[in-house]
Structure formats: C-alpha cells, structure tokens
Symmetry: C2
C-alpha cells in the first residue's frame, strides 16, 4: 500500500487511539511485550533474511551488527515496552482549570498529537520502541525504516497489529511503510493533512534531509557538538574525570564531548595531563588552536571546520580561551545547543556560563553524558531535541503529547 494511503488510515485510527483508556493502552503494551518474546523465533528468522540480503549488498559489519536481532535483544525490546507500560499516563493531565472572565469554565488538558511519523535507519528495535511510546501517548504512528531492515521491522509490527486486533482496536494505529520510493517518502513528509509530527531518528544526514524537505512539523533530534570548558579555578582532578567521561565513555552518542575549552591559566598544567589520559583511552587524534598546539605539539592544527564537527568518534578539538566570556562565545558560535559544561570552583563564572550558554542542557561540574531521558527520570525517550519549539533536550512521553482547551459554558456569547 502507498504510504499516503497508510497515513490516511493511521489518521482514522488516531481518532480511536486518543480515546483509549490507560488500562487499554497498557494491556496492549504488555501483551505486545509478551508476544514479541513468544514469537522471537519468527522475528529472528525474518531478521536473518534481512541480514543475508545485507551481506549480498556488501553492507559493513558495523551496519550488520546494528541490524541484527538476537533472543537477548528481543528480550531487551520487550523489557523496554514493559517499562513504557509502567510509566504514568501522559494524557488528560490538567494543566490549567479556572473560570475565565466571561464565566466559562476553562480546562487545559494534555492530549494526543494524532499521527506521528518516525523516519529512522536500520535498527529494527526502534520499531518496537517508537510504536510503544506513540501508543502510550495516544497517537497512531507511521514508521519508515531503512530498506535493509524491512522484514525485521514488519515482523515486529505484525506482532503488535495482531494484539491490536485481538483487543478490538484499529490495527492501523501502527503502520510500517512498505519500502516507499524516495518520491513517496517526500510526499509523506509534506502530508500535513494526515501527519501531525515527524521525528527523524538517525544520523545527521537523515535529520537534515527531513528538516529540509518536510512541510509537516519536525522535531530535530540528535546533533550534538558538545563542549566542556575547564576554567582557571577548576578542580583539575574533577575536570580530568569529567573530560574523560564526556569524551570516552561512549564517543558515538550525541551527548559526548567534541571540543574541550581550557582557560589560558589552566592550560599549561591541564592540557599535558589530560592529553596523556585521553591517549590512554584511545584518543590520539586531537585538533588544537595555536595556543593549545604550543602546549601540546602532538595536536594537529584545527581549522574553522573542526569546531563545527561532530566526530562521534575518538577524535576531538582543544581550544585555549582567555575567559569564560570567550568560552561562551565559542559555544554560541559553534555549538548545536545540545549539552555543554563548565568545570569551575568560581561561582560567579558558573552563573555566567549557565545564564549565557543557550543550550538544552547546561552543566556545572558534571559530565554532558547525563543528557538522557532515563537519567533525567523521564522514563523512555524518543530522542533529544536540539530545537527550541515544543520540546528541548530529552523527549519523553510528556513531550509526545499536545494540549487542548475544553470550555464549559451556560450560553455565554461575546
């Protein structure tokens, strides 16, 4: 079926999903988790077909690893779904409740978005995760994954569709796009009639393509050029611990540090020790400005592009700055407003940094790696927003909802 037709059916289904009770939604989720594990053999056999085709097409082993489902990974997916079932109901929360001046009783309550389109790459576990989050948030979803994972994603979605049918719920509440052409995907991203929100999940190129071509509102996620600024007064042991954690604990993720900024008064002592420690952790490719290169001759010379780069790898930049103001100015110029940290014992500088860095998450004396839905206590997350509208930073269930006004009158006219 054409993806636009799928979206149309999802729109119709969304009229049902948004009125399901919490119990109905949770029942579906728990049965979904259960059946996913029960039918793991089928899902894995479909996954094997994807993997065979991927190998024939010469996909890299890293890509094939991302594509691969095992019994353990399926149990992980099921556990994720159970956790979503455990979360508090994001719908029907009363945000405002009062009598307005004309006498009407106004209530502002959280409600479902409608149809959410998720455009992702090749990881089939995204399917279960997103479908479960959208359903819990009362929305229907249209999932458009990479072609190479189609059979795996379909097997997962079919498990959920079966449960929906058994519970008398429109099975179009979850839909996997049937390998749409580039042109069809384009039309889908323009389809404001049936789709209320698009969330791209994947690398920078995918996100850029969606933002550039969509007419449906998009939430940008994931691009993270994150900074750690080590101030003159920083506790250097703490700074070392945080920099190593921010860069090395998981360099491929968006909340990992890409650029280390060091105050000029700390550079001579801090740069040699952190450089040695980074090398121990596998970071040997470092791009520095002139002053930093003078202290650490092992650095390569950074250029303008370096400061903009999200390496997602054991590579980074180092810049020596004259002041907290210069650090902030660098972050505002080159950052992506994701997560940035200052390490300092100087409260005035900390306050200046927190007030003037305009990022989703700004840290004082902690690692940028904490920017995460689970760490923030939001439960599951669908991504980390780097834009300013609707949601910023980790997006949990609440950020997958909208609100509406209900107004109860007694014949009031204006």
């Amino acid at each position: 079926m054409n993806i636009i037709e799928q979206a149309r059916l999802a729109k119709t289904a969304s009229r049902t999903t948004r009125t399901l009770t919490l119990e109905q939604r949770n029942t579906v989720l728990l049965q979904f988790a259960e059946n996913l594990v029960k039918q793991a053999d089928h899902v894995i056999s479909e996954n094997l077909k994807d993997i065979e085709e991927a190998r024939r097409n010469g996909l890299s082993e890293a890509m094939i690893d991302r594509l691969t489902l095992t019994a353990g990974r399926i149990e992980g997916m099921a556990e994720g779904i159970r956790q979503i079932a455990d979360l508090e109901d994001p719908l029907g929360k009363v945000l405002d409740d009062r009598i307005i001046r004309c006498g009407i009783h106004l209530k502002k309550i959280t409600s479902a978005v409608g149809v959410i389109g998720i455009i992702f790459e090749s990881r089939p576990n995204v399917t279960a995760d997103c479908a479960a989050l959208c359903l819990k948030a009362g929305s229907a979803c249209v999932l458009k994954g990479g072609k190479e994972s189609y059979r795996s994603c379909l097997a997962v979605v079919d498990v959920l569709k079966e449960i929906l049918k058994e519970n008398g719920i429109d099975e179009n509440a979850v839909t996997l796009a049937e390998r749409p052409s580039h042109e069809e995907t384009q039309r889908f991203m323009e389809c404001t009639e049936y789709v209320d929100l698009l969330i791209p999940r994947g690398g920078k190129k995918l996100i850029r393509a969606v933002v550039d071509h969509a007419k449906v509102p998009v939430i940008e996620t994931g691009a993270g050029v994150c900074h750690v600024f080590v101030d003159a007064s920083a506790d250097q042991d703490m700074a070392e611990k945080i920099v190593i954690n921010a860069k090395c604990s998981r360099p491929s993720v968006c909340n990992a540090m890409e650029t280390l900024l060091v105050h000029k008064d700390a550079a001579a002592a801090f740069l040699p020790r952190i450089t040695a420690k980074l090398a121990e952790n596998g970071v040997t490719e470092i791009y520095g400005d002139e002053k930093s290169c003078a202290v650490c001759p092992s650095y390569q010379k950074a250029d303008e592009q370096s400061w903009h780069t999200e390496y997602n790898d054991l590579i980074m930049n180092v810049k020596t700055v004259d002041s907290v103001e210069e650090a902030v100015s660098h972050i505002e110029t080159y950052g992506t407003h994701h997560s940035d940290a200052i390490i300092t014992e100087d409260d005035e500088n900390a306050v200046y940094f927190l007030n003037n860095v305009d990022s989703a998450c700004t840290y004082h004396n902690a690692s940028t790696r904490f920017t995460d839905g689970f760490e923030f206590g939001l439960g599951a997350e669908i991504g980390i927003s780097t834009q300013k509208l609707h949601a910023r930073g980790p997006m949990g269930l609440n950020e997958l909802t909208t609100y509406r006004y209900l107004l109860e009158g007694k014949g009031e006219i204006r």
Copy 2:
C-alpha cells in the same frame, strides 16, 4: 541591508535580550509606548506617504483602511504595549526542580526562544505589537511586513530602536526587513542558522506560503473553519443566541462559525427560526445539504468544497446530521481543529463531543468567539495556533518562550 545579514545581527542581539532583567524589558516597553505617542506626527506623516503610494497603485479602500494610522490608532498601539509591560515575566519560571538519580540538581526553567521572524501583511500596528511581545519574551525579532506599509512600519520600529540605544541595548533586537525580494524572503525562511521560529500573521495564502517554503520551524495560525452543533436536546433560545453570535458578531475573524450542524430532530423547528434571524443579521447566502435545503428552500446546494471553506464573511453552511457521532465525524473531516461548539442539554452527548472533537478549543453551550488570548486571560496574543506542536489555541507570552535545563553537579560522571 540584506535580510539574512539583518537576521545575523538579530541573532547576536538575542544573546543580550535573553538576559535582560524584567525591569530592563519593561522600562524599554514603557518608553516605547510613551515615545510612540510623542512622535505620532512623524509616524502619521510617514504613513501618509504609504497611503498615497497605495492609492496610486490602486489598492482597495478596505486595504487602505487597514494601512491607515491615526492618532487614535497610535494611542491604541501604545496602550497595547503598556499592557504587555504589565504582564508577568514569562522568563525564568521554574518548571521542574529536583535531584536526579546520579545526584545532579536539575532545574528546568523557561527561557527565550532567540530570534523570532514575523511575516505579516499590511497592518502597521502589528509591528509594535509583535516587537513588544518578542522583547518581553526575551527574544529579538525580524519583522517582514507588506511592502505597502514599509514606511509606516519603519517609523514605528525606529522609535523602538532609539529607546533601545538610549538604554544601552543592541538596537538589532528589533529589525524591520528592508523590502526584501521574494528570493531573499525565501532564504530568510530557510535560515535555521539565525532564525529560531517563524510566525506568519495574515490570511490563508500567506500562512500556506510560509508553511510550504520554510525550513525554520513555523507556528501556523489563524485558519478557522469552526462549527456549532445544535443537538436534539439543545435549548433553542440559547442555540439561537450562540449561533448568531458565532456567525455575525465579527464574521471576518478566525473564531467565527462557518458551518452550522443541526441534529435531525431539531432541524424542522430550529432551521426556519435561525434562518430568519440570520437574515436579519445580514446572512442570506447559505449553503445546505439536501435535508437542510428541504427544510429551508432559500438555501443553495452545498458541494464538497463548501464544507472546507472559511468564508470570513456573512456566508455559511448548514448540515443536518443524524447523531452527535456524525457531527463529530463531519468536524474531524472538514474542520481546522480551531474552535468547535456543541449546544446540548444532554450531558452524555456533551462529554462525547468534548472527548472526540480534536480541536484547540472545544466548547459546550458557549460561542466559539471566545477563543482569544485576552478572553482566556493570557494577556496579549500573537496569534491562534491551529497546529499541535509547541502551542495550541491562543498564543500569549508564555507560548513565545522555550525552556532549558540547568544542571548543577559535584563532579558526577556517567
């Protein structure tokens, strides 16, 4: 100056505006209101030049009326600005404040969006209104009005720029685009680097053009195909009062009713009386479905397009429906999710309607005309959002802000 360069300067200015204290922002606003009145003669003489040119170009008298500034209208603009100064600070509100599991102290606070682009038509009072709202919300703004009002808008903006300079604030916090070409405007709407949010203010065509061409996030405002459903059990006196108010009190606005839905059991009694009353109020062009036309032969036959039309005029549709379910289904199919009302004495039907109509504002026994920032007690409004992301319904100052997380640690790593 090129509009992109103007946006770049606004971005720099936004680093200042977002940190201004409430007192600084209010001082600027009050001086702006004062000087606008003091310099009314200059503003009016610039406005006269716009009007002369508009007449030479053959603009309609209705357009010229919208363009015209008088001493009274300028006093009205000043009063609007003073009211904005009076509003509570939308910035720095603490939305969340707790220790997360790793021990970090998390605070979620409201903060400025950055640079807001407003694209509007020919009413010069929009300039003062939008600039004041954006500044109060801590954001810089780039205003792009219709060419025919350029001199008038510039005169208004210059008053504010002067005040900004006198207060030592970057005057690029407010900028009027210098009659950009179509192509430049297009580039502006794509300029995610410097612009954080676009708000189109104007007719349907303008809004559609912005949504279709922008890459910067847009908030759609204003399109309103609003419905009133008169149920079988409705108090027909109340229904008459509400229908007349919803249609006739100000037919040109987006919260006016376009389609009247009537339950089949009420149609025979209600349609003739409301049709007579509507005629008294100037509504003589009515498009009806077959059943309604059978009751009121004065109606013209509605076609598919009628139900989608926002007349903004003394023209409307009437449809007879079999049930509250059919009424909801019609609204979900043809409405714009703006404002819809049910008139009924049946609580079960009221609850069904409120739960199943997915509009920004859903009314029971009251007129749709109340959908308005002032009426809702939000103070000034910048528009009425008909999309589901970020803001829905009347957008006041709070809806012109975003939030960010501040995280205070003691060396935590993940």
